[in-house]
Point group: C2
Chain length 438, copies 2
């Protein structure tokens, strides 16, 4: 890991008179919302209800004006269904992009920054793939790019990290970054089946018709790559982070997890040592006494481990209109107050999926003598020590689920060991292998 290597303004800029000198804003910054969905309308509501000084909502772009135009928004606000009107207007200082996705949102953000405007966005996908480039563009054109809402919505992880943990070197990130998966897994912990929980999540609007982005770990890995850049100062392409889906998790796994004093959560995890940078996203076992097990429902939680400061835990509502809108409005206030981000350079890095942790391996077999012997030989061939073998009674012999846990071993070694079992006639399904966080 490289030494801290910070960009900073010149001394004269650093120690210029404080903005607290009593100068009230004469001209508030003029804000245009791109989109008027849940988060954007919450942003509008806070701006209108709370009237934070220095902020003025002036434009709303929405493709479906007739349906969306809200009566409680003052008539001074200009509504338009032409995005060009706000992107090019000299009467707009800051664009708030809440449409999400790479396209057309990325194009809008680029055009706004090109025009010298500042941008506040909650778009984790855009920032995870193009954050470095967009920050450079903003800096070159004299604008600012802020995205405090892109990770963990209403929980100030990004501001806390940038402003309060900049003095540390973060060596580990463990996060519950996807509220949909956390909702589903904590419901399954209480006994519900995957299919029913997914249907409920869809009904409640937590999950999309195609839930792959959430359950497959793609959403969480985008957020993890943003945190890695800010916390570890490593530029990581989210595609390089291997995601594991939660769809493999069954009721039997919660039952065995509990037997082991654990539950199961979708965890986004990155670790940075002198020798290795590793990152992954997927379902993992977490001890019931770990903070990560406290997080239930759609909550998010992030545990950052610093070289100097140890563990810091952030938790709260990671999504939802109002919490996410708080993060957006906070970013707008920072812009209005001339508060600058502590921008720290990041460097590209090679990424592995190599962790050295204990594992939970669940086998589903058509029982016959010799299976345990077979598996233990495979594990021993890679020098992997077994910690426990747990087989609860009551499963049918033709579809018998049992679990082995192993002492800390390299992910790659375990993978090789399990591959030697490929094609064994007793395996009804490939073994499910989950990291155990201790």
């Amino acid at each position: 890991v490289s030494e801290p290597n910070l960009s900073a303004p010149s001394l004269s800029a650093q120690l210029q008179p404080s903005s607290a000198k009593g100068s009230r804003v004469q001209n508030p910054i003029r804000i245009a919302l791109l989109g008027f969905g849940t988060v954007a309308s919450s942003v509008a509501r806070i701006l209108i209800e709370s009237k934070p000084e220095g902020l003025e909502l002036t434009h709303v772009y929405s493709r479906s004006l007739a349906r969306r135009k809200a009566e409680w928004v003052p008539s001074s606000v200009t509504w338009t269904d032409h995005v060009d009107v706000v992107l090019t207007s000299p009467d707009v200082d800051v664009i708030v992009e809440l449409a999400g996705g790479l396209d057309p949102a990325g194009n809008w953000v680029r055009r706004a920054l090109e025009a010298g405007k500042s941008v506040v966005t909650a778009n984790k996908k855009l920032i995870s793939y193009h954050g470095v480039e967009l920050e450079k563009l903003a800096a070159a054109k004299g604008g600012h790019l802020k995205y405090g809402a892109a990770v963990a919505g209403g929980i100030p992880v990004i501001p806390g990290l940038e402003a309060g943990l900049a003095g540390d070197r973060i060596k580990r990130i463990e996060g519950i970054l996807n509220g949909t998966c956390n909702f589903m897994l904590s419901k399954m912990e209480d006994g519900a089946e995957y299919a029913n929980v997914l249907a409920e999540a869809q009904k409640l609007g937590y999950a999309e018709a195609d839930p792959t982005e959430d359950v497959g770990g793609f959403d969480a890995r985008a957020k993890l790559s943003i945190l890695m850049r800010l916390a570890m100062r490593l530029t990581v392409n989210p595609d390089a982070i291997v995601p594991h889906s939660i769809t493999e998790i069954q009721a039997v796994d919660f039952s065995y997890a509990r037997e082991l004093g654990c539950t199961i959560r979708q965890i986004a995890r990155a670790e940075c040592t002198d020798a290795n940078v590793a990152a992954t996203v997927g379902p993992m076992l977490v001890g019931l006494r770990s903070p990560l097990a406290w997080s239930r429902g759609t909550e998010n939680m992030v545990v950052l481990t610093g070289h100097y400061g140890g563990d810091v835990v952030f938790s709260g509502h990671g999504a939802g209109g109002h919490p996410t809108a708080v993060a957006v409005v906070s970013d707008l206030l920072a812009l209005a107050h001339g508060s600058r981000r502590v921008v720290r350079s990041s460097a590209p890095t090679a990424l592995s999926a190599e962790f050295e942790v204990p594992h939970y391996i669940r086998f589903l077999v058509n029982d016959k003598p010799g299976i345990i012997a077979d598996i233990t030989v495979a594990l021993a061939s890679e020098g992997i020590n077994i910690r426990a073998i747990v087989q609860k009674p009551g499963y049918p012999q033709k579809a018998l689920a049992f679990v082995m846990t192993v002492e800390p071993c390299k992910s790659s070694a375990l993978k090789r060991a399990l591959e030697t079992l490929n094609g064994k006639d007793y395996l009804i399904a490939p073994p499910l292998d989950l990291q155990i966080l201790e």
Copy 2:
């Protein structure tokens, strides 16, 4: 509660070119440490080991030079036992004040700010009593005052609050802000007696020879007043917050608390409604499923409840050399990077200790018939409903401890009800009354 009413710079200052424009620092900010105790030497260590760009340790003031001068500090650093040397030196940009207390630290900070220097401090006492005045002085002289380490040490509550929750209106603060009390109470939860735990805390350096500042709630109330100013934008004199000591808590209280599904923590609590601003510090019952019960040992935890964003939880190491030093170095980096605080005005407020919550009341009596009747009449006279009466077997009749819990009622009403019991011959000690947090 007043509307947000923000100080902000003019538009031209707000949207000036970003500090991220690639300009590396030519002249790092020159830092003088006042003091070389645990936190200050950790700050020096981070500055020397991590070499954050833009920061240079140039001076150390220490009263006991001969004893303290550290070999691992480069010879380029000037050591002095004359504080004037650093306060007046044109070669020092930022003073890091880690001596603590009001005097002489306050004088040093004032003189540094008067000289146009910036100050980073972890001094909660100074900031709680004089923060508003010192911030005005800093602004008037063109310097900056930062104190991210003053509350909850290594946990970025202050930066998270200022940068990430500025867009919300915080209506409730519940915090474990004193690590010493948390260490002692979590040891007592495990069965230890107060006197033994205090001795252990003193031996470990967590508690002073006179522990009043910690156990009496004075340290926590200073921190609470700082959080109230930043989160609720209310200027509160810490002396106006009534502290309750943890010394009244006995083993029997943990036993009864557990019976009620709770444990006991020292909580700093403030609530801000349209009608009332209330704050207090003292031991309280917290549900075992509440985040506040998870915090053990010297950890700190803060739960902020926003009007829009709901609950946000921060936890981690609230004290200790390295974690606190991380907060100090982060403040220094913010100064070096030209990052300005989002300074929001605060207004003085009248403060009450009036909460409307359920209560735990523990009686210690010389048992005789009619006591419960007597107490219930007293409570009924104030319209207070009893929730539960718990009397565990095994206590001697002449010193019988039992507990009543009551439904949410005003603190003042309960106080009046209990006062009517003053002088009752069966009372061995005044009833112990604790808030129950739900």
